[in-house]
Amino acid sequence: MKRNDYLYLDHAATTPMRESALEAFKNAEEFAYANSAGGHELSRRAKNLLEESRDFIASYFGAAPSEITFTSGGTEADNWVIKAPFINSKNSQNLVTSKIEHEAVLASAEWLETQGQEVNYASCNKDGQVDINEFLDKCNKDTAIASLMYANNETGVVQQIEKIAKEVKIKNSDILFHSDVVQAVSSEKLDFHKLGIDSAAVSGHKIGGPKGIGIMFLSSKYKLPNYFHGGKQELEKRAGTVNVSGVAGLAAALKEHQDNFDNEKKRILQEREIFENELKNALEIKIVGEKINRLCHISNIQFKSVNSETLMVALDLKGLGVSRGSACASGAQKPSHVLVAMNVPDIDVNSHLRFSFGWNTKEGDGKYASEIVINTVKEIL
């Protein structure tokens, strides 16, 4: 389909690449295409680019370069941290996580359960905040990993990571505290050590970088068994030829993100506020987490008596791209496990849509989107 005036408000799913990232990616493929593990001039060029990028990325997150391993994306990083410690583990260790994690964590945890491992899931309140006391209660002397996302990808609601990380350690200092920060990187400045996070999953394409590149941050205090087996790339931690152009693109995207952080955040917040206010004035809606701390780019809205599947299709036909729950292979979208965990009543669970803004959101987009949404909802009602 060709549409020139299509408005994309699905940045939480993925973002368009920033120009600097595209440029860096293309450059790397042109001039540093060799295998970074090779022994010749062109390989050295690739290796140098890889390590320069790693240095910058590490410093951006307040980490040491040796604590950064490049993966194929956030999902691989989550799988690695959640599963690897338990593979062939003979002792009765457990995993503690929440019911509202991204599928990369949840499905990994469910897989562990099928392998006989104990997993405990903390619930959340009606705003989507995970119950700290319940989370901590589930952590015990046998807990190997505690995993809690920094902010939810469907609602944008931010968890009290720093506080929880600290309390988890008080409970049992051996626990590795993992956080999927994939959704948060685009609207928060994160320093992993300051936050008390031992490991984190980051995805390149959520911040204007390329798809197929991600980061597994692991504090130097910990070691994890390898998850991929093969050649001794990535400091012997992850097999497979390193995606140097992806890494270069990710570093460039992060740099541009850093340079424009305040301006972009201000613009996104402003557009979201206009959007939400217009909707509130014209329609019967509820905004998830409106009164609490949530990421600036996500607006999850419940439209009273509107089937969000029909609304999403109607908006698409009018040139506005948004999303509902998590997409499955066929394209049909299921009611969100996050909303179910928040105890949203059955009758309302299919009335939510997620609008997510991003680095290329322009002034006026919030107003324009609100007009389309208001008109469409009125037609559907």
Partner: protein
């Protein structure tokens, strides 16, 4: 005009989308996800599989039309699957495709089309909507071999202006030719015959996986003499021959299923013939008609001349001109005047025995 096309991923609905697009309409393709596995995945066998929706998506991409998979699973489960299991548990022979058209496809789909500013919905059914004087009528397809008007009998005249059946005047070979000339990958795809949610599996396993029918009971002849035992009435349908004990000399058939007393009656072919029966939940496309009628008692069966007698507003008695085999309670009796579909209803079990000779 903007038209919402139901695309199953088969050749028929692919061609519908292609024809309407080539006529200049603003076409939107939709696959209804009716049935799913425990993790929300689309089924792998039967129709409406993940591979089918992938075919539909490719056809839509080729035609450059918007395409969506929409979730109809809740409505389908409630109206079709529960009903399917329930009917078997009552000793009836359900027709899930009719039930699906009746309570899921058209109602829900037309409603959704309206919300998406579509003036009409179109499907790949072989049936014809014909304008006669000032009203629209539902007719058999010109290509009788594939006629599907039987499964559409519950449509009423008020819905017809919102529906388009573009294949009503086209033959199946022509449909395949059109698909090939449009370069659609479904051109030579095999037609699906299975019940979509049962697939190639035996429906009995499906039913018994949903309800416990394990109570065994007697198989009896028409004079109530015990001939054998059964492992649950859901394993039988009226007219069935397979799996029946005895049968020396002449073949035996299931003639009646008595759920209340957990009995399966068997008899000879002659015991299976029916001349009078009742149809319930009857609806008419354009209103009642009593002249020159014939009836189909199963999908794609031949027309049998009949007379229609009203019992009450939704219950009618059918008198066939000639007794016939295989009138199964739970199936639908669909009444025609030549090619024009008059109406239809579900064949009743209760009254069948009283009117049966």
């Amino acid at each position: 005009m903007r038209i919402l096309v139901a695309m199953s991923g088969g050749v028929d609905s692919s061609v519908v989308a292609g024809l309407l697009k080539s006529q200049g309409h603003d076409v939107i393709g939709v696959t209804m996800k009716l049935w799913e596995g425990p993790n929300g995945e689309m089924p792998e066998t039967g129709c409406c599989t993940a591979a089918d929706s992938e075919d539909a998506r490719k056809v839509a991409a080729k035609l450059d039309i918007p395409y969506y998979v929409l979730d109809y699973t809740a409505s389908f489960s409630e109206n079709v699957i529960d009903n399917f299991v329930d009917m078997y548990s009552q000793g009836l022979t359900p027709n899930p495709c009719v039930e699906c058209n009746r309570s899921v496809k058209f109602d829900h789909f037309i409603d959704q089309a309206k919300k998406l500013n579509c003036e009409k919905v179109a499907t790949g059914h072989y049936a014809k909507i014909v304008r006669s004087n000032n009203s629209l009528e539902l007719h058999k397809a010109d290509y009788l071999e594939k006629d599907q008007s039987y499964v559409l009998h519950m449509l009423t005249a008020d819905k017809l202006p919102k529906i388009d059946f573009p294949l009503g005047t086209i033959s199946k070979p022509e449909v395949r030719q059109i698909a090939a000339s449009l370069g659609l990958k479904t051109a030579f795809k095999k037609d699906s015959q299975d019940i979509c949610f049962v697939g190639k599996k035996d429906y009995r396993n499906f039913v018994s996986s949903r309800i416990d029918f394990s109570s065994s009971g007697d198989i009896v002849d028409k004079d109530d003499n015990i001939i054998g035992t059964h492992e649950g009435v859901h394993e039988f349908t009226v007219g069935q021959r397979k799996g029946i004990p005895g049968g020396q000399g002449q073949p035996k058939y299931v003639t009646k299923i008595d759920v209340e007393n957990n009995k399966v009656f068997i008899g000879s072919k002659a015991d299976l013939t029916t001349k009078n029966f009742i149809i319930e939940d009857v609806s008419f496309v354009n209103g009642e008609e009593y002249e020159n009628l014939s009836i189909q008692t199963r999908y794609n069966s031949h027309d049998i001349p009949c007379k229609l007698k009203k019992i009450d507003s939704s219950t009618y008695e059918i008198e066939l001109d000639q007794a016939t085999l295989g009138v199964a309670p739970g199936q639908f009796g669909v009444i025609y005047n030549d090619t024009k579909l008059i109406g239809g209803g579900r064949i009743s079990s209760k009254i069948l025995e009283n009117v049966n000779e």
